[in-house]
């Protein structure tokens, strides 16, 4: 790189629209390539988020300033300079800044430039011109969970079956009518002894189970027998929707157990 090239590059860095330097870019292929690279770098840098100075910088600078102050203040009687005195010395002798900040920066942990910066500089792909694409490409890639492949594959193999399974899971669970529990047994008990009752209850139970299954899967959602009540019944799914008094009795009956689905913030692992 010739000295004129160096001058033009410095001028361009100071003033992007310097006409004489722009003219030089048209004549010098080396400087033109340098300028394209520099513009890309500038663009990339301007797209990066600004990082705050590490908090330890202040402490490190203070330490270095103190030690420098001690050195500079050797001629002072008490061997130590106050902040104002040090500032005056620094104004009168700017070169004393160098050891102070050298020491301060040496104490700092080095921050590495993002890898994306290298990619941007080295890869002239047109995609890189898109800032969003650039940022996205810089993100670490998380592989898709393998189980997702399997689940999607299974669903695609038999979509109808999976759709039915999903909807069945959403259906409200029906309770067996209480009358089924009590009445048949009671009537049988009044007529037969205990051993005879068992002999009868067994097949009746089997028949009842069959009827329940048939009713559950053959007839769709069945409305519970609530027609005799003088009120409407509202089913809730959270104990919070009960009154505090009802809630306290419920907590006692259920031993203080959690009674609603867990949220991420709840529970303490043991």
């Amino acid at each position: 790189m010739s000295p004129p090239c160096n001058d033009h590059r410095e001028r361009l860095l100071a003033d992007h629209e310097c006409s004489s330097s722009e003219k030089h870019l048209g004549e010098c292929g080396e400087c033109r390539a340098w300028w394209v690279k520099t513009e890309r770098l500038t663009k990339a840098l301007s797209g990066l988020s600004r990082l705050d100075a590490p908090v330890e910088l202040a402490a490190a600078v203070q330490r270095s300033v103190s030690s420098a102050g001690l050195r500079i203040g050797e001629s002072v009687d008490d061997g130590e300079l106050s902040g104002d005195q040090l500032a005056q010395r620094l104004d009168s002798d700017p070169s004393s800044l160098h050891p102070i900040f050298e020491g301060a920066f040496r104490n700092l942990s080095r921050l590495h430039a993002p890898e994306i910066l290298d990619d941007l500089v080295l890869d002239p792909s047109p995609l890189r011109d898109s800032r969003t694409a650039t940022l996205l490409s810089g993100l670490s890639r998380i592989p898709v969970p393998q189980v997702l492949d399997r689940l999607v594959g299974e669903e695609l193999e038999s979509p109808a079956r999976h759709r039915v399974e999903r909807f069945i899971g959403d259906l409200e669970r029906e309770n067996v009518p209480y009358a089924l529990d009590e009445n048949p047994v009671r009537s049988i008990a009044s007529r037969f002894g205990r051993s005879n009752r068992r002999m009868l209850v067994a097949p009746l139970t089997a028949i009842a189970a069959g009827l329940i299954l048939w009713a559950s899967f053959g007839g769709g959602t069945r409305v519970p027998e609530t027609t005799e009540y003088s009120f409407d019944v509202v089913r809730v799914h959270s104990p919070d929707q009960l009154s505090p008094l009802a809630n306290s009795f419920l907590s006692g009956m259920t031993g203080g157990s959690r009674l609603q689905p867990k949220t991420d913030r709840e529970g303490s692992p043991r």
Binding site: E172, R173, N175, V176, P177, Y178, D181, E182, V185, R186, R194, R198, V201, A202, P203, T205, A206, G210, V223, P224, E225, T226, T227, Y229, S230, F231, D232, V233, V234, R235, V236, H237, S238, P239, Q241, L242, S243, P244, L245, A246, S248, F249, L250, S251, G252, M253, T254, G255, G256, S257, R258, L259, Q260, P261, K262, E266, G267, S268, P269, R270
Partner: protein, 352 residues
């Protein structure tokens, strides 16, 4: 043949269950039962109240939620009784994930000590009723619990799909040292087991239970209730099969309102009915529910379309426990118990 397999399995299961020797309650005179245990039912009933002891025990609870999740809770607690009716339960530490966090959970459990000792723990509350509603399987067996010799008996509720209790009684005091509550399929619903017990404890530092809800017991038929409550207590006309009225009292809720509390029992389990006459404009049960979290079962076709708003009863299920609450005909009512929801609704429906 393949289609008949479930039926065959069902019949086989029934035949196998029939092989067990089930007997009505009446262990005295039952062959194989230790002499020390014969005729001790009265003492078993009274043991929690007239036995001086202190012991640590493990409590396990399993609750099935509506979304299919099973919540399992396990923790340790220290129980103290001075033998004159005073008691204390001190929660010690959790052994499982607890809600919402361990310190809060233990604090809340401590505040529930009165309910737990009197109602949650397995008790024979009414011997004649217990004999009527339960039977035992076999003569039981000798077991060791917390270094004590105990007699373990399996009790079955005399209803299909009823629960089973496997209870180990201390042979000397009659105290329940271990109890497992199982559902009809044999799944554990709750468990309680002493890991250590001392029958000559130092209890000077124990803060015995004092009711925090201003509870005052009274005889329902004595006419005392109206004086205590400030309104006429009412009871449901229909109660679940096997249950009878066990105790009546007045309790005060967190808003300072008095409620009539009726406790029903089937000899072991408890069922609660709470009632109060509504004071106009003073208190509203939180019956408003969001459409996403509830489903309304219309009691009749006219109910939702009619011009007049009908009373509503809110129903909630937690495992085997059902709770119903509502304001019907101007009366606030709450019913909670391990009975089918239809029975709870009937209780509310028949309270007039």
């Amino acid at each position: 043949m393949r289609a008949l397999r479930p039926l065959a399995m069902l019949l086989l299961g029934f035949a196998l269950s029939a092989c067990g020797v089930e007997q009505p309650i009446g262990l005295p005179g039952t062959p194989g039962v230790p002499a020390a245990f014969q005729g001790e039912w009265d003492q078993i009933q009274l043991a929690p109240w007239n036995t001086r002891f202190q012991g640590d025990r493990r409590v396990s609870i399993a609750v099935d939620l509506d979304n299919g999740e099973q919540v399992q809770t396990q923790y340790m607690e220290r129980v103290s009784s001075d033998g004159t009716g005073r008691f204390n339960i001190l929660p010690l530490y959790a052994e499982s994930q607890v809600f919402p966090d361990e310190p809060t959970f233990l604090t809340l459990q401590g505040r529930r000590e009165g309910f737990f000792y009197r109602y949650r723990d397995f008790r024979i509350r009414d011997l004649s009723l217990f004999r009527e509603n339960y039977r035992h399987l076999g003569a039981g067996s000798r077991v060791e619990v917390a270094g004590r010799t105990a007699w373990e008996v399996t009790f079955l509720r005399n209803t299909p799909r009823g629960r089973t209790y496997v209870v180990a009684f201390d042979l000397v005091t009659g105290l329940v040292l271990r109890c497992k509550e199982l559902d009809a399929r044999g799944n554990l619903l709750s468990g309680l087991e002493y890991t250590s017990i001392d029958f000559d404890p130092e209890l000077s530092g124990v803060a015995f239970f004092v009711p925090g809800n201003d509870e005052q017991r009274f005889e329902f038929d004595g006419g005392e209730g109206e004086e205590v409550l400030g309104f006429t207590p009412r009871l449901p006309e229909s109660i679940p099969a096997g249950f009878v009225l066990h105790e009546t009292a007045s309790v005060t809720d967190g808003m300072g309102l008095r409620w009539f509390k009726a406790g029903y029992t089937d000899g072991a389990e408890m069922l609660f009915f709470l009632y109060r006459e509504r004071t106009e404009g003073r208190y509203e049960l939180p019956l408003t529910v969001s459409p996403q979290s509830s489903s309304t079962q219309a009691a009749s076709t006219e109910s939702s379309a009619g011009p007049e708003r009908r009373d509503e009863v809110v129903l909630f299920r937690a495992g085997t426990v059902h709770a119903a609450q509502g304001t019907v005909r101007g009366h606030d009512m709450i019913v909670i118990g391990e009975v089918p929801e239809h029975d709870l609704l009937q209780m509310i429906h028949t309270t007039k």
